[in-house]
Symmetry: C2
Subunit: 352 residues, 2 copies
DNA sequence: CTGAAAGCGCTTACAG
DNA sequence: CTGAAAGCGCTTACAG
């Protein structure tokens, strides 16, 4: 393991000079000296030790990302946005998957803290991060949340309720009157907001909320399959199923199919997220598309701005209370949603 | 940012004592002293700086994982296995997505090296890692590959050719004689092996390899869709499509559907990987299931053994040349593959 | 332009 | 059982 002293000896200069050359900042170094050092670095294959560097500079140029569930394609896509925005500024990323388990979340928060990350992004939910967030704040490391709200925190979000309301209206306009909602874990604010939007959408059409049509799921395919199966056994049977994410919607389509019914002929299905696969399943899935990649990228840009501000107090203090960036969603209508059985185009329109 | 000196002062002991207590090893410390220190740690919220620790110990208890494509559910599943095996031993994981781009791969390898990772796992392909691998070796950090071969490296693998041969035979047994293969990038050894297996499977049934039925893809849904579309326009039209991964298979099913044909009535489709979604699309996908999670876990266990051996020379030297662990695959027959049009059960049997 | 020296926050022989 | 001190590999005032 060759170090800065080896390079200094090889180049016949001091370690201070090596440091200056390697860091390539605007510090003046004679061209000839620089060349000697560079050659020694090359010859020896020197790679500066980031641990030592971080220890001195009190910054690691590394940020953490906590996601609840890698198996859901939604999060890898967020991760891509986060990662691209990070590497654009030469920041490294430490990626942690909590599996929605509080113990893993705590473990990772601790690890990230001990590794002195410059900041952290927390995507999705599953556990309470107030404590984690406080711990980071104490260490002066900014925190940005994706897709959840709380008092005084920085976040990047979409309007879950408005999006869910629109999707529900899409179904009422098609004449559906028994519209089920497959929720995700009700502990999540994003899920609560989607439920609110769903209810608002029903109300807009003069429909009553029926709790038998609301089911809690866990965002997995199986959960969508099983919930849909139960829903389809009910009487009267819903003619539309709106799922709180695409994976559950895909599970629901499978359940409708296995029940000997067709989508959208007998039952319409609408998802949420807009994962890539949604346009490749058949029937192609109508869904609320979230700008997932951009959500990640925006969160990272916000975080890095906060980090830079911390390192560089000239930029002024951190904004009070926590900023929120809102990103738009879009209802993408594909094949999985259609007219309610027996309805005619326009049936639902007076309701809107 | 409170440090070990603060704790020592608060507890009225030396920093050496604090260090011993915090590290909780078998070093003898009087119970009363220990209690004082622990209380001070608690009161102050002390979190030891891993940078300083790593600098002294010359180990970070952190390993890197390089994956080529987070958008393919195959890799997140590998990552879960890697991560669980790592945290079981209290190792942290730095996760890097190369997007199959050589520049990103090089950038991350450099970063991981500078951060003094104890070891690295390289999953999948897309770029050449001989150089990266050498660089790590020079720094004494072990490397384990998942799913690719090369001389003298450690790896965890499946038998791609045998698996592809079996899947091909499954189709020939169903009476298919025009079987297309949607390959992934032909630069990957895993893809080359799958092509070999496909050809062997054809040969077993006395079928000739037809290069018009082989297409190179990129493992994405779109690529599967477009390749299948082109294939379906050929004359004679293949009655079966075997894709080198599930995402392309799902794209292929969509293409068959959009061409007004049915799966498996007109065209059978078989995938490779066994992602969770494969059993939730309709028709459910017949596929070669890879023990993905276990592949990741096995790779991490192998890596950690190499790391421990390096730290602890009593365990003996690193095994010569590179070990390979082989994991089994399984053909999971679902709905997407069936008898060739016009064929009768048993038609293909004499061929085997 | 260059170098000697202090210091980041720990761990670990060494001495007592 | 406990502490003083050296040292890990860097960066950065400070002096020249």
């Amino acid at each position: 393991m060759i170090n800065i002293t080896d390079v200094a000896r090889e180049a016949g200069v001091s370690i201070a000079t090596v440091s200056r050359v390697v860091n390539n900042n605007d510090y003046p170094v004679r061209a000839a000296t620089r060349a000697q050092v560079l050659e020694a670095v090359e010859r020896l294959g020197f790679r500066p030790n980031d641990l030592a560097r971080g220890l001195m500079q009190k910054r690691t140029r590394t940020v953490g990302l906590l996601v609840p569930d890698l198996a859901n394609p939604y999060y890898p896509e967020i991760a891509r946005g986060v990662e691209d925005a990070a590497s654009a500024q030469l920041y490294a990323l430490v990626f942690c998957n909590t599996d929605r388990r509080a113990d893993k979340a705590e473990y990772y928060v601790n690890t990230l803290l001990q590794k002195r990350m410059d900041g952290i992004i927390i995507a999705g939910g599953g556990t309470d991060f107030t404590e984690a967030s406080t711990a980071f704040a104490e260490y002066g490391a900014p925190v940005v949340f994706i897709g959840r709200h709380a008092e005084g925190v920085h976040s990047v979000q979409i309007s879950n309720s408005a999006a869910a309301r629109d999707a529900t209206s899409h179904l009422t306009m098609l004449g559906h009157r028994a519209i089920a909602f497959l929720a995700g874990p009700l502990a999540l604010t994003s899920v609560q907001d989607r439920v609110d939007g769903y209810r608002a959408g029903l109300e807009d059409a003069g429909l009553e909320f029926d709790e038998r049509l609301l089911r809690e799921g866990d965002f997995g395919e199986r959960s969508g399959y099983e919930s849909a199966q139960a829903l389809l056994a009910q009487d009267p049977r819903p003619t539309a199923i709106f799922a709180a994410n695409d994976l559950m919607a895909i599970g629901a389509i499978a359940a409708v199919h296995d029940a000997g019914l067709t989508v959208p002929g007998d039952v319409s299905v609408v998802g949420f997220d807009g994962i890539a696969l949604a346009s490749y399943v058949r029937p192609a899935l109508t869904t609320v598309a979230i700008p997932t990649y951009e959500l990640g990228a925006a969160a990272m840009r916000m975080l890095l701005e906060l980090v830079e501000r911390k390192q560089n107090p000239d930029l002024g203090p951190e904004p009070e209370g926590g900023r929120t960036t809102w990103l738009p969603t879009e209802l993408v209508v594909r094949e999985s949603s259609g007219l309610a059985p027996g309805a005619q185009r326009g049936d639902g329109e007076r309701a809107s």
